[in-house]
């Protein structure tokens, strides 16, 4: 096992990605599924920063830029996703994914 920072960062981010995946697949509460996806997005951001810091030299702030846009997109995603959850709840009175299985509102 090497102790270089770059592989460690990448392992960290892939572990976080795996956790987010487990959460998104295992839980049936929509909010938790959304949060799992949010974690996976964050894991991807970690990779960008890790490569920006230790990867081959690119133009000065590309990794940082990417993460910033990604955070903005994540914020939009969270807002719309949670609004969808509230809309679903209003129609179906539940946010368990198994029970929210009708196409008709």
């Amino acid at each position: 096992m090497s102790l270089d920072p770059l592989p460690l960062c990448l392992l960290f981010s892939s572990a976080l990605f795996g956790l987010g995946l487990i959460g998104a697949l295992a839980r049936s509460n929509t909010i938790l599924v959304l949060l799992g996806i949010e974690l996976m997005l964050n894991a991807a951001n970690l990779n960008f920063i890790a490569f920006w810091r230790y990867g081959p030299a690119t133009s000065p702030a590309t990794g940082v830029m990417f993460v910033m846009f990604s955070i903005a997109v994540a914020a939009a995603e969270a807002a719309v996703g949670l609004a969808l959850i509230i809309a679903v709840y209003r129609h179906q009175k539940t946010i368990r994914l198994q029970e929210a299985n009708r196409l008709k509102g």
Partner: protein
């Protein structure tokens, strides 16, 4: 340096794991916020302080509030925040999938030689002392980020602005209470 990284990683992963396995939704959400703090700490550790503060501002300040409000708005009683256990088969298959993905990624990372990128191979800068701290150590000052945003990434910035506006309007439209005429439809 590495010890700090390991500490941050353990904190982030532990809070995330506990958050995703807890049955109390509020506790899950709060622990996830702690996990987001851990990620911000990682950004700080990596020297991207602007991103770290943006992460805290956006995730802890805004997304957390949206999540907590959503949890509170989608329950009928206080007991609803504690959700029942999910099916075991599902959980096991999810864990298998997640571990498999992590395994594949991990093996790939460990097998890859990052070659000239690893700090040992980078010639120390003149006057530099610590090897790992000076390797490329890219700096992204706020000024750099601002200039980049306004020149190279100007189009992306505009598109993000439009995206955020559309997301705001969409969220409002989706979550807005329907008019009184559709009231009789709801059970």
């Amino acid at each position: 340096m590495t010890a700090a990284l390991v500490l941050i990683a353990v904190f982030t992963l532990a809070t995330a794991a506990v958050a995703l396995s807890l049955r109390n939704l509020i506790h899950s959400a709060l622990l996830l916020i702690a996990s987001w703090f851990g990620i911000a700490a990682f950004y700080l550790w990596a020297g991207a302080e602007f991103v770290a503060f943006a992460q805290v501002l956006v995730y802890v300040g805004a997304v957390s509030m949206v999540v907590l409000f959503a949890v509170l708005l989608t329950r009928r009683s206080r007991a609803d925040t504690v959700i029942g256990p999910d099916s075991v088969a599902r959980a096991i298959s999810a864990v298998i999938t997640g571990v498999a993905v992590f395994g594949v990624l991990g093996v790939a990372i460990l097998k890859t030689s990052f070659g000239r990128l690893s700090p040992a191979d980078v010639p120390p800068l003149p006057g530099g002392t610590g090897v790992s701290s000076v390797i490329s150590a890219p700096t992204a000052t706020v000024r750099d980020i601002g200039i980049q945003l306004m020149s190279t990434h100007a189009a992306a910035l505009l598109i993000i602005g439009i995206l955020l506006t559309v997301a705001l309007l969409g969220a409002v439209v989706l979550a807005a209470q329907e008019g009184p005429e559709s009231k009789h439809e709801s059970p």
